[in-house]
């Protein structure tokens, strides 16, 4: 029966091609606009590391001054980042399975081969646990040793691209890479790896590329580095040198912990609170205890990775779809009214109201399907356009495969919803009134 209805629908739609095209266009454009925004927001708010995220926590301590909260907009939140000394202290906790303090820096890379010009590299100073915690794939070698973290040894993990540039893509493990004025022994070379959202440091640009080189975070405590991330300070203290900065209450480190179980999570929270209570006795941590453990997606939400902007556009997108649907209701109504005589005839020949209803629902469903296909094409175009005007959308403005079926489903459903009233009206056509004038 369904196939028969489908055939009828095709027949009836091809009779008024202009009106049909208009309906498909209205649904298509509505769905296209709405799905472009939805697809972008979907990527921005979905879990970038689903295999692991249940155990990963961003650690934050409220080390801020008594006078004012860290963020005026979110006064209940702890600072986004940590001080140097708290990061050092947190690394002593036995509870996390893995943990790493980290910060961003900039280095110059000088290839051994003179014919290749020196170039800038972005660096992440972090611990060896970083790689296992975030499941970083390795092409050669692996994370550096525990000792390298402890003794702040000059060792490095290169990104795939950096290894290409410095060593022509060869297995460079054990060789020396020159960064700035010093040499670093290559411990490992990462395989290509790029989370859509740079979830481990959303403070310094969630759409950034993964860093070019990874170095032990402890190096930053031993010698001056060129930090390249946000730094926030609240205290009136003299900060003239790099070393003043290390000692200061300024925050610029991120800290992640992998926690095995919910019991451990509770224990860790207690451990953190005990630590900050102890610090209060030293005159630090002037605010009420407010130590935060946030999951990957919670933290992305707190830091507004998706952003107000995107949500405003989303509201507009939904209204846009509604406008298109109202448009479609009118057009469907017009079509069906025009068809009244035919329907009256079918009714007179014995078709039940229910059959007429189903037949026309199939018809609008078919229009919705066609509109969905058009909408899908338009969202691809829309996302391509978005990537063109917004460089940071390069990776995020993509239609995930799981959204394709959803797009079509939304199109069919909204077309059927739009067709509900016209279809109901068409069922009430009394056969006699039209048959008279035939």
């Amino acid at each position: 029966m369904f196939l028969y209805y489908l055939r009828l629908a095709k027949l009836s739609l091809s009779k008024q091609p202009m009106l049909t095209a208009l309906m498909i266009a209205a649904i298509g454009i509505g769905i296209g606009a709405c799905m472009t925004v939805t697809a972008y927001l979907y990527v921005l708010s979905s879990d970038p590391i689903p295999e692991k995220s249940a155990h990963l926590y961003a650690v934050r301590l409220d080390s801020w001054g008594a006078d004012q909260p860290f963020s005026r907009d979110y006064p209940w939140e702890a600072p986004w980042q940590l001080t140097q000394r708290d990061s050092v202290a947190l690394l002593e906790s036995p509870i996390p399975v893995r943990q790493a303090a980290m910060r961003r820096a900039v280095y110059s890379a000088i290839p051994a081969n003179d014919s290749v010009a020196p170039f800038f590299v972005s660096a992440r100073m972090t611990g060896r646990d970083f790689f296992d915690m975030f499941q970083v794939p390795f092409l050669y070698g692996g994370p550096w040793s525990v000792d390298a973290d402890k003794s702040a040894l000059n060792t490095v993990v290169l990104s795939h691209a950096t290894n290409e540039k410095l060593f022509g893509g060869e297995n460079s493990v054990g060789r020396e890479a020159r960064l700035g004025s010093e040499s670093f022994v290559v411990a490992g070379v990462m395989d290509r790896w790029q989370p859509t959202i740079l979830f481990y440091d959303v403070n310094n640009g969630p759409m950034n590329d993964v860093e070019d080189v990874f170095l032990p975070w402890s190096i930053a405590g031993r010698k001056e580095i060129d930090g390249a991330g946000n730094t926030n300070c609240f205290k009136d203290e003299l900060i003239e040198t790099y070393w003043d900065m290390l000692e200061s209450e300024c925050v610029y480190n991120q800290f992640w912990a992998e926690i095995a179980s919910s019991q451990d999570l509770e224990a860790y929270q207690v451990w953190l609170d005990t630590y900050t209570e102890g610090q209060k006795e030293l005159g630090r941590f002037e605010r009420p205890t407010n130590n935060r453990l946030s999951t990957v997606t919670e933290y992305m939400e707190i830091r507004g990775v998706a952003g107000d902007e995107a949500w405003v556009i989303m509201c507009i997108g939904v209204l846009f779809l509604i406008a298109c649907m109202v448009n479609t209701i009118g057009l469907i109504l017009a079509r069906f009214v025009a068809k009244s005589p035919v329907i009256a005839l079918r009714r007179a020949l014995g078709a039940s109201k229910a059959q007429i209803f189903r037949q026309h629902l199939v018809e609008v469903g078919l229009v919705g399907f066609a509109g969905g296909i058009l909408g899908l094409g338009l969202s691809y175009a829309g996302l391509a356009g978005l990537r063109m005007i917004l460089e940071e959308a390069e990776r995020a403005a993509r239609l995930r495969p799981e959204l394709i079926a959803m797009t079509i489903a939304i199109a069919v459903l909204s077309a059927m919803l739009a067709g509900l009233y016209p279809t109901w009206r068409i069922c009430r056509v009394s056969p006699a009134s039209f048959l008279k004038t035939q």
């Binding site: 209205a26 800038f120 209204l319 017009a334 025009a338």
Partner: protein, 401 residues
């Protein structure tokens, strides 16, 4: 006199009229809000910066290697750059205005520890900064060459003896009086004397509340990085850019260089705002098109539905203009109902966006503009179907009776 039959026809075809009205209402809601937000964005982007952005070249230099001598390198670079033909002025700087990267500090206007702190971006520049940025000295004096501190000087700090500030900061810290000769104090109550006031320039972050509060420190940037803000003679920026880069490359090989125009850096800082504006405008254009097509579709359909009725009216004496007028008035009524509804909805949506997100309150001029636009759109959309209706021959009435 013609309104009554139209109204009675509309009440009989309630759904059709309601749909057109609803469509107009939603369109007005979206169009008014989008236009408002888009215009606000564009105004935000177009704020006058006070600087000669179009003619400034930015070179970032990043030293490495054991032989790299920072202050000597800067002195050499400045000498080389200032000798280049086509260069109007050069200042070294640590950070680049309006680039999204920079440093800020908090200063008090008095020695009282409880006095409020004023935030400002700070830039380490030399006595050529006015000429290099193209900003105006409003009051006081420029830095003297001997005031410029080397980066390895012993008393090098964020609180030098003399500073120059923007008028926005001066007015904020010292309301109602001239800030010249006044001091700004750091957390340890060390003070810097304000010796000059800049008419206007912007700091680092385009969306910062204190974007126009800027302090200049008479200092060389700290090792190992330095930026140069190079102002070219009008129109010579693009020809000068490669020359600058190759010249600096030759002077000192112990460093990395990155050259951009300030225009490109500023455009980058506003990229998200521009993208939002583009999206909003796209939504406006698409929605107006869809609404227009929808009205045309419905009107054409109505005309076809009423062929016989129109024919009959023509047969009993209605002129063509009467038929056209009928359709125009009918459409005008539906549009107006939609506009009335949409006005409420538009204000409601703006209220929602303003309370939930960081959107400004609607300026009602946009509402008036939106109403006019939709009235015109309604007329334009129905004009053609109405003309076709007027062409229906009276004879049609007699055919199928």
């Amino acid at each position: 006199m013609e309104i009554r039959p139209i109204l009675s026809a509309m009440t009989r075809n309630r759904t059709g009229s309601a749909l057109v009205a609803a469509q107009i209402a939603i369109t007005l809601t979206v169009v008014v809000n989008c236009t408002f937000m888009a215009v606000k964005r564009l105004e935000f982007i177009a704020r006058p910066s006070g600087m000669d952005i179009d003619n400034i070249i930015v070179v970032r230099s990043f030293g490495f290697g054991g032989d790299y001598a920072h202050d000597a390198s800067i002195a050499k670079d400045l000498e080389t750059l200032r000798a280049l033909p086509g260069v109007r002025a050069v200042t070294p700087s640590w950070n680049i205005p309006m680039s999204g990267g920079g440093s800020a500090m908090g200063r008090r206007a008095s020695l009282d520890e409880d006095a409020p702190t004023f935030n400002a971006n700070y830039y380490r520049v030399d006595e050529h900064a006015f000429a290099a940025l193209g900003v105006k000295l409003l009051e006081g004096r420029n830095f003297r060459p001997e005031e410029i501190m080397r980066s390895d000087a012993e008393n090098y700090s964020q609180t030098p003896p003399t500073i120059i500030v923007t008028k926005a900061l001066a007015d904020r810290a010292f309301p109602g009086k001239s800030a010249l000769g006044e001091y700004l104090y750091d957390g340890l109550n060390k003070g810097s004397e304000i010796v000059g006031i800049i008419e206007h320039m912007y700091g680092a972050w385009v969306d910062w509340d204190d974007f126009d509060k800027v302090v200049w420190l008479p200092q060389r940037p700290p090792a190992p990085s330095a930026s140069y803000l190079i102002r070219a003679e009008p129109g010579r920026r693009d020809e000068l850019m490669p020359v600058v880069e190759t010249t600096l490359e030759r002077t000192n090989r112990q460093r990395l260089l990155r050259t951009n125009s300030l225009e490109e850096i500023v455009a980058n800082s506003y990229e998200a705002d521009r993208a939002t504006a583009v999206l909003l405008v796209t939504a406006i254009v698409l929605l107006l098109t869809i609404t227009c097509l929808g009205i045309v579709g419905l009107a054409s359909f109505t005309v076809r539905q009423r062929t016989k009725q129109i024919g009959t009216r023509r047969a009993i004496g209605a002129r063509r203009i009467d038929i056209i007028r009928y359709f125009l008035i009918e459409n005008w009524l539906m549009t107006s109902i939609g506009i009335a509804l949409g006005t409420g909805l538009a204000i409601g949506l703006n209220y929602l966006l303003a309370t939930q997100f960081d959107v400004q309150r609607l300026d009602y001029g946009y509402l008036v503009g939106g109403m006019l636009a939709l009235w015109i759109l309604g007329f334009a959309a129905v004009a053609n179907p109405a003309r076709r209706a007027a062409k229906i021959s009276p004879a049609i009435a007699t055919r199928t009776v």
